[in-house]
Symmetry: C2
């Protein structure tokens, strides 16, 4: 049965999509079979993996609203070991479409269950969430074993964290008692910048071991890679960004061993 990780933070632009794409690539390098679920109507993860909009026939919308089978929605990307359930802007109407459905929070969790197991064809499922705590992100948290939180090394980023922690606690109490924190990863870190150091110190002090040792530096190669429709590991394997996501994958794999 696959390990399902939701990559979530309602603060916008903190590196959720960048983390999802590059962690998927780094896990695939370790021979893992990874399914990436794009749950953001912006469809940035789909674009970043090279799936052009016209090629997205069945999408996450179909998985949630139309009851499409996981096997028919998940398509192989060009990168070995990575499959994807793509997203289009249709996804933004999913919330209204299921508003009357009493099981609207469980739709993704049920869609990922195949013969009683969670996405058995895969080792990892990574869910890229939109920048809200609405029904799409709730579906991801209900479906997931754990939540990975990218935390931008900026002042506004810390402010939203307590709201996210409250939401995770609510989901644990109502729909998914096994939901845990995979961890918090500092992103866009600039060691020369006092603010980055302050945010790191603050995060490690308040959140302790939940904060990964690995820090993702601000690295222009990470923001260039999506315009070439590939993870940074393929775009510039020697970059600091690629090295950081490889280190994060090793930390996550090691955590998995200890469970």
């Amino acid at each position: 049965t696959a390990r399902i990780i939701a990559i979530a933070n309602q603060k916008g632009g903190v590196g959720k999509t960048t983390t999802t794409i590059n962690l998927a690539a780094a896990l695939a390098e370790h021979g893992k079979r990874v399914l990436l679920i794009d749950l953001d109507p912006q469809g940035n993860a789909s674009t970043g993996l090279g799936l052009a909009a016209p090629d997205r026939t069945l999408t996450s919308y179909d998985l949630l609203v139309e009851g499409a089978v996981l096997g028919s929605v998940a398509v192989a990307s060009e990168f070995p070991g990575i499959w994807i359930c793509p997203a289009t802007s249709d996804l933004s109407s999913a919330e209204m479409a299921v508003i009357e459905n009493p099981r609207r929070m469980m739709l993704l969790r049920e869609a990922l269950r195949v013969g009683g197991y969670a996405a058995p064809a895969f080792d990892y499922v990574l869910i890229d969430c939109p920048p809200t705590l609405g029904l799409l992100t709730i579906n991801a948290l209900v479906a997931a074993d754990s939540v990975l939180v990218p935390l931008q090394s900026e002042f506004f980023a810390l402010e939203g964290l307590s709201q996210l922690v409250l939401t995770v606690r609510e989901v644990r109490q109502t729909a998914n008692p096994d939901l845990r924190f995979e961890g918090i990863v500092l992103t866009m870190y600039d060691g020369r910048n006092r603010l980055s150091q302050l945010v790191e110190a603050d995060a490690r002090e308040t959140l302790g071991d939940l904060v990964f040792k690995t820090i993702i530096p601000r690295n222009v190669r990470l923001s260039e890679a999506p315009s070439f429709s590939k993870p940074v590991l393929q775009y510039d394997s020697a970059s600091r960004g690629a090295a950081a996501y490889r280190a994060l994958a090793i930390e996550i794999l090691a955590l998995q061993e200890t469970r």
Copy 2:
């Protein structure tokens, strides 16, 4: 009657809040009376202007859902010429609270109308939107005269623009025929970075005069200012970030003259 501008882009972390706070401060320097409406449940604009969470008694939630009067929700900030309708995380439940209300898209527009005029006590109303195209942002677009779009100089940022243009067109056709684009402002621009130059060239080619001449550079003083609860114009008046937002205000004031 006030000019109402919605600061919107569903892409996260592009500089919506930073633009709203600092444009408000720059307009206030020109003697304008500015009301900032925080329509994001994260409440970053409220924090960035020094309104601590416990001091937010009446909020944008009350304006939209409880029918509170604008005069009772708008409070003076510590900065001359700037008032604010603050936000708390309650705002994230506003959408569900009004889902049955047939006028749910017009709630903010109606709340801003006092005696037949739009927020007559103010010269400008700036609305900081959350990173979605949900009901909160739709309310802002229906209430507004124009929409100002911060566009981060990054690859993913261009991808979402067409969806935003479609949404603006839909709002014009259904609820607010007078809605126009105030313009598109490039943010977090780094002249040394090829990607920034590509995004600028692409934006000016496809969007022409809609793109402001003023470009907001990436400037660490802009990201430090909120941790001191003040606009960058007060935090570091000599910074490149402050200069850029002053230039943007001058462009917007000049546009206003020509209408």
